[in-house]
């Protein structure tokens, strides 16, 4: 059964769409009902991080095995991850408008870090289109991708934790503590994370198959 993760992703996401709106959540000032955005906004970012990790692994494989297929996969994973960062940004912006009072703030290190990371990955796509030779492109972009992944983690995982951030789980605290979430919320949040990760893998799978069809037609 090779489609198990696709079925699970649909079940999990449907469950979070329904129960995420109905289940009881902590009553908090300012956040009010928007605390439910945790089920939708955060898992999208987790899917993005997952895809970038897949991209990193494929890039390392491309370097060690000298295989063009791995290079194609790394590119597709980065594309899907980039695609997930866009709804992540817009949903975060809307949420920020109604809780922090602004669409975007440069005071928050996580927002700045995400903006820089997206630029780093845009540079990855541009780099790929600027090299014509396939083998050369595979090696250069794989090396750059390893660098991009490390930089992204520094910018969105490490630096926000060193200073104060408006995001929960930053400014020295571990994320998802008992202050941010209760057990009722975990019941929806974890399936949501898994659901969107599986969903991103599904998109990645389709993208790969289209790429390989294209490659065969070009041969």
């Amino acid at each position: 059964m090779k489609n198990w993760y696709k079925i699970l992703s649909v079940i999990f996401i449907l469950y979070t769409l329904v129960w995420g709106l109905l289940n009881p959540v902590p009553r908090l000032d300012i956040l009010n009902e928007t605390i439910r955005n945790v089920y939708y906004h955060v898992p999208i970012w987790f899917a993005m991080l997952f895809m970038m990790t897949v991209s990193l692994i494929q890039s390392i494989l491309a370097l060690t095995k000298n295989n063009l297929d791995n290079d194609t996969k790394a590119f597709n994973a980065a594309l899907v991850g980039f695609f997930f960062s866009l709804p992540g940004l817009t949903t975060g912006s809307i949420w920020a408008k109604y809780t922090w009072g602004t669409w975007w703030t440069f005071q928050d290190p996580k927002l700045n870090g995400v903006a820089i990371s997206i630029l780093i990955y845009l540079a990855y796509f541009i780099l790929r289109y600027s090299v014509d030779d396939e083998m050369k492109r595979a090696r250069i972009s794989a090396v750059y991708n390893v660098f991009a992944f490390v930089m992204m983690n520094v910018f969105i995982m490490v630096l926000p934790r060193l200073t104060d951030s408006l995001h929960p789980g930053n400014g020295g605290n571990p994320a998802f503590s008992q202050y941010d979430m209760d057990n009722n919320m975990r019941m929806v949040f974890y399936p949501a994370v898994l659901g969107w990760i599986f969903f991103s893998f599904w998109l990645y799978n389709i993208k790969n198959r289209i790429s390989f069809i294209k490659n065969k037609l070009n041969d």
Partner: protein, 73 residues
């Protein structure tokens, strides 16, 4: 004796009246879920997602067909 009973009654009444005072808590959409037909909205959201998934499945089947055509050549 009557005085003592009266004081007890007044004390108890004071206790109950304070218990009935609602504690002010953050505003939540409480009535929204009880009578606001929220289930219909949830059904609509679910239907949209299901429609997207069906589209994705059909797209994937087309990709599979192309794969078969290419591999048989």
């Amino acid at each position: 004796m009557i005085k003592r009973i009266l004081t007890l009654v007044f004390l108890l009444s004071a206790l109950f009246s304070s218990a009935q005072e609602t504690v002010s808590s953050p505003e939540m959409a409480d009535t929204f879920r009880s009578d606001g037909k929220i289930y219909i909205v949830i059904t609509v959201i679910g239907m949209i997602f299901v429609a997207l998934v069906i589209f994705l499945i059909l797209l994937e089947r087309k990709v599979s067909k192309l794969e078969k055509q290419i591999n048989s050549k």
